[in-house]
């Protein structure tokens, strides 16, 4: 397993995956063997990540690699380590649509899966929410990295598809002393609302500057801004019109149960990003491993993934009991329908999942959910855009 364990938001993601391994072991282990998870840190750096993955594949002889978070690290691992070596790779959190393209042209050899919906869902939902709010002209602030460029491009397409004018796209490179020039530039486009595809670090500067210069308080932001830091630094009085987007878990029992079981195990609610996704990635991967048998190769494990996520199969819960039942089913060659922290996971042929969405806003007590947008509505909207 490769995750950025040295980074504060990366550690809980790794711990969640390890927790799954504990439960699988409690349920009897993969094909009767105790799962031994080797964790390596990628520091969110591509060179470190590739080195870590290479060591896992060569030295530890893994056939299954779980990881990692940043698409920029996941992609080189996929193209230079796991796919050439025939190792299956599953990630909780990489959202880049570039991986979809890699899967489409066969580079990933069907060895790749992820439990995190691509940026397309969020970008499209932003347009849906803007349309519903009657906004006709937006300007986009985008973090100038792969994620920001990706989601801003997808959002811009969605805005245009929904008949909303994109008046400007302003790139925000992190680590600059001042974003005043960028904000001035955006101000000149006189938008009715701004779309913020930013992280809190530069988001605070940009939003405060934007408001101080008299910019509109109508703002639509990505899930990356879901933090108290923004609320405290900008002030609730200026965030009344803010709408956030996020992908969501379906409103199923299994998804609803996840926070409770997580809190029982760790003594705190699952507040960081990607935790249910990490849970599901690990669970699906290990169940598929079980189905393939202890000596299986990466390709053999990958081939068993559809058995674990068969919508027609028996429902499998994400706990020790559920895993025990699932492994019994799989040993008999039957399929199951895994119901995890992100609901019933189904991969498309490129290893991608789709997801329902929510809109949220800042409230006195923290982030408050506004509206749940079911999978069907998201799907219909995206289809209508094209």
């Amino acid at each position: 397993m490769v995750y950025p364990t040295s980074i504060d938001w990366g550690k809980p993601i790794a711990e969640t995956a390890l927790w799954v391994a504990e439960m699988i072991n409690a349920a009897g282990g993969v094909d009767g063997c105790k799962v031994d998870v080797v964790v390596r840190d990628d520091q969110a750096d591509p060179k470190v990540g590739v080195d870590a993955a290479e060591a896992l594949v060569d030295l530890d002889k893994v056939q299954l690699l779980i990881g990692t978070v940043s698409s920029g690290v996941t992609i080189p691992i996929l193209t230079s380590v796991t796919a050439p070596a025939g190792v299956m790779q599953i990630s909780c959190c990489s959202s880049s649509t570039r991986i979809t393209a890699l899967a489409a042209d066969g580079t990933t050899k069907g060895l790749w899966f992820r439990t995190f919906a691509t940026s397309k869902v969020q970008g499209s939902v932003a347009a849906l929410l803007a349309r519903d709010a009657g906004i006709r002209k937006v300007t986009i602030f985008q973090k100038n990295d792969d994620w920001g460029q990706d989601i801003a491009r997808l959002a811009a397409e969605a805005f245009k598809g929904a008949g909303i004018e994109v008046a400007g796209q302003v790139a925000i490179t992190d680590g600059q002393p001042s974003y005043r020039a960028e904000v001035t530039e955006a101000l000149a486009t006189r938008p009715e609302a701004v779309y913020l595809a930013l992280y809190p670090k530069e988001g605070i500067s940009v939003v405060r500057e934007w408001i101080a210069l008299g910019g509109t308080t109508k703002m639509i932001g990505t899930n990356s801004l879901k933090s108290d830091e923004i609320r405290d630094a900008v002030g609730l009085q200026y965030l009344a019109d803010f709408i956030g987007t996020d992908t969501s878990t379906p409103r199923t029992d299994s998804a609803a149960a996840f926070p409770t079981t997580f809190e029982t195990r760790f003594g705190r609610p699952p507040s960081g990003p990607g935790l249910p996704n990490s849970f599901d990635a690990a669970a699906i991967a290990l169940l598929a491993y079980h189905a393939a048998g202890r000596g299986a190769t990466g390709a053999e494990i990958a081939a068993k993934v559809p058995l674990v996520t068969d919508p027609a199969g028996e429902k499998i819960a994400g706990d020790v009991e559920g895993f025990r039942r699932a492994m019994a089913l799989l040993s008999e060659g039957k399929s199951g329908s895994y119901q995890g922290g992100t609901g019933a996971v189904v991969f498309d042929r490129y290893g991608d999942v789709t997801a329902p969405a929510v809109s949220w806003t800042f409230g006195p007590g923290g982030v408050e959910e506004r509206r749940y947008i079911p999978l069907e509505e998201v799907g219909a909207f995206i289809a209508a855009l094209n």
Binding site: D51, L59, G72, P76, S80, P84, R98, D105, D146
Partner: protein, 292 residues
Amino acid sequence: MIGVISYLAFFATMAGILAIAVLGLNLQWGTTGLFNGGVVAFFGAGAYGTMILGGRPEPGQFGGFEAPFLLAVAGGVGLAGLVAWAVGLLTLRLRHDYLAIATFGVAVAFESVTRNAEWLTGGAKGLRGFPRPFEAAVGDPFLYGLLFLGAVLEALGLAWWGLERLTASPYGRALRAIREDEEAARAIGKNPARLRLQAFVVGAMLMGVSGALYATFYAFIRPQDLAPILTFQLWAMQLYTGSIQYILIGLVIVLMLLWRPEGLLPERIGRRTPNRTAGTAAATASKEATTP
């Protein structure tokens, strides 16, 4: 056992690839005394040039000419040389810290272009490469890893041999003369400006080779790979090895940097001059102290 060898081969491949860039740095700084603070720009030019020429076509993306591997690498290296030539014309008359920061700026500007010129470089998400040459034909990843390492070491050996020949030749002596005393070199009829530019371009082309192999190895290149820290890592390798024989060992020595600022072999390094630009003197001293 095969796993250990395979991992070591992977590690040695990376080391070998970076060592080629260090050879380039050694020619620029060690031999000619040019303080290049923007190694990643030339490394990046090699990598991006190779990827654009050799990559597969993608919608909305310039490049993807699927050129044969060696042609793509030659193009990348040529691009690195071209960038170096233009940069050199502009900046080589500057000295020391000015040159360092000006070239550092070139690297930042280069990174900026790769991050933003999406049509050309794929933007921040990077540029996807081509399947590694002969990988499909070889089939076995372990064997292929060894073969790739062999090719890298061959390139490294070739570059090394070439540079050894070069530095031992009268031409190399002229370069060293410029580093030591430009006025004297001019007096004996050398054209320092032209020699410096040539050394700068040749060094940058070696960095381009390194970048080309790096991008080939990862089959992927993106702006984050061109972070300034890479320049400093290569500098550390160059500084704390001094002589090109020790460049591979340098990888390990980098780690000692923080708690051994005086270098690995302090007792063998000559006394330093406070009056002169002591960097040159120290580098000279350490280079000669470690050359057998």
